[in-house]
């Protein structure tokens, strides 16, 4: 029951946060609202016994990525005048909801048909750092390795695109 309550709370927060992200005009407000969602999601991961993910969500997502985004928002020193004037935003959002509805319903229909077993409490080992780590380095070595390439590329990209270095003559 307690878990259900927690879930409900986190879920409501997550949805509200997401809705805020969509609705707020200023990106800063949106980012803050999004952080709420991320943190709620972290809570949900915890409820799902994903301990490592719970931690990573907080550290990497809510921590690193969001602070980077917020930093850039601040860095660009966005004035309200820089922001797009979205008079028809609401129309678009409602229209968007209408368009997305079939997708959502389709997914919901799928989920509904899933024969999911009851969620019995698992052992303590589940989702722990060690277990996930072992898995990561045994079975999932390749993706783990190639993610490094990906990060390297994004590094170069950031340097090339946003850097000051002039093109070689």
């Amino acid at each position: 029951m307690f878990a259900d309550g927690l879930f409900l709370g986190f879920a409501v927060l997550a949805v509200l946060g997401a809705a805020g992200l969509v609705v707020f005009r200023h990106p800063m407000n949106g980012a803050m609202s999004f952080v709420v969602t991320l943190i709620s999601l972290a809570g949900l991961y915890a409820l799902l016994s994903a301990k490592l993910i719970f931690a990573l969500q907080l550290i990497v997502y809510a921590g690193a990525i969001m602070s980077l985004i917020v930093f850039i928002i601040m860095f660009l020193n966005i004035q309200p005048s820089d922001l797009p004037k979205e008079e028809t935003k609401l129309v678009y959002i409602l229209g968007g909801l209408a368009v997305v509805l079939p997708i959502g319903l389709f997914l919901a229909k799928i989920v509904k048909s899933l024969p999911l077993s009851s969620t019995a409490i698992l052992g303590n080992d589940f989702g722990g750092v060690k277990q996930v780590g072992l898995l990561l380095f045994k079975d999932w070595l390749v993706p783990f390795e190639i993610v490094s390439i990906l990060l390297l590329i994004s590094l170069i990209g950031a340097v090339v695109l946003a850097g000051k270095k002039e093109a070689v003559k």
Binding site: L21, G104, A162
Partner: protein
């Protein structure tokens, strides 16, 4: 019970889509995409719980890493855009058309 997680994931995913297609603010659009990735992550973790295998966790981690890389690049692009036009409106960038 797990169903609820998945429904939540779907709702977040759909909200992300709505954010992408209805907003013109570059930041909001990128964050909406992050929201969609998070929705996917939630689904991964929820399914991991169902299958009682931790593969889903690993997958979620990978998605996070990709999301981070993407975010870094996206922010670089945002800075570039801002340098050019000092605007964050995606509609401003419509020189290429027709």
């Amino acid at each position: 019970m797990i169903h609820s997680y998945l429904y939540l994931s779907i709702i977040l995913f759909c909200l992300g889509i709505v954010g992408v297609i209805s907003r013109r603010n570059v930041f909001t659009v990128f964050m909406s995409i992050e929201l969609m990735l998070n929705a996917a992550n939630l689904a991964f973790v929820a399914f991991a719980r169902v299958h009682e295998s931790m593969d889903g966790h690993v997958l979620a981690m990978m998605v996070m890493a990709v999301a981070a890389a993407e975010a870094a690049l996206a922010l670089a692009v945002v800075i570039l855009l801002h340098k050019h036009k000092s605007k964050l409106d995606t509609n401003v960038f419509s020189l290429l058309k027709g």
